[in-house]
Amino acid sequence: MSKIIVVTSGKGGVGKTTIATFLGAKLAKNGKRTVVCDLDFGLNNLDIVMGCENKIAYDLSDVLEGRCRPMQAVVESASVKNLFMLSSENTTGGQHEHSKRIRELLEGLKTAFEYIILDCPAGIDSGFHRAVSLSQEALVVTTANLSALRDADKVLAILRSYVKDEIKIVVNMARGDLMAEGESLTALEIQTLLKTKVVGVIPHDDQILKSKNCYLPPDSVAYDAFNKLAESVQFGKIKLYNPAKKYQGILGSIKRGLKAKL
């Protein structure tokens, strides 16, 4: 049975699109046909993160206004089998209040895809409400930063007013060295503060910034973290990546010291 998951946060820049993309890629590699839909009208960037910006012929607004069929706008990833994307509009023209048509579109996509991941716009205005109302499950992305946590808390309060099968948290850009020193909140602390289960911890990893076409080298820290996140989403088995582990103990203290100096 197909699942629709919205990836949201409230605060901008915490990594919603990154999480949506790499989670989608992992689910696709696990054999699940997955489409990631950009619901940020005007400030779209899913195509960039997925490395598909030169493959977009039609976007979501073309589908909603009847200029093309849905599958004509869906683009397959060049590097990950089973991974597809549906780009949003690349202009800043008018608001699109097509909630009913988007809902019909997603119902149609359910027949072709096992996972539909919605990349939600930042903020809590109409775009946010449109995206969250369309999904069965929600992943709220936050960082350990207090301003991100505050916005995530407000988003969680709003999400609870919608009927959702599950609402969970993903902690992004986690700094293991700071966690080991007690200078950054841990996943368990964030879970306690926000009163919502954390199902993924993604460490700060330069390989994500360098990534093209959703590729992460298997020896990168984020590779393992995204594997664990995909397992949590797909099978419900929560195994959190611990970014602080390699910074604990005597060797860990040396690593932290070296990192601080660099």
């Binding site: 505050r150 020193e181 602390e189 503060l193």
Partner: protein, 79 residues
């Protein structure tokens, strides 16, 4: 070395901010309320210092606790 402080500054601050946001009442509001209460009580009593106010969220709303200490009642001028 891991910081073994019972509750770290970052955690305490996060807890305070989120609790204040959820309640809709902050420590600053308690200070403002205490000041107003001090001014009002001061018209009737000679207070020993400032009054204190504490607002706690309950299931049905809020519990407001005011504490003040006075040494005497002021002589009120009657018309």
């Amino acid at each position: 070395m891991k910081n073994y402080k019972p509750i770290r500054d970052s955690l305490r601050r996060a807890n305070q901010v989120l609790t204040g946001d959820r309640m809709g009442v902050t420590a600053q509001i308690e200070d403002v309320l205490a000041k107003h209460v001090t001014d009002t009580l001061g018209e009737f009593f000679s207070l020993n210092g400032f009054a204190k106010a504490k607002i706690n969220a309950t299931k049905n709303g809020f519990e407001i606790i005011i504490y003040a200490n006075a040494k005497s009642v002021k002589q009120l001028k009657m018309l």
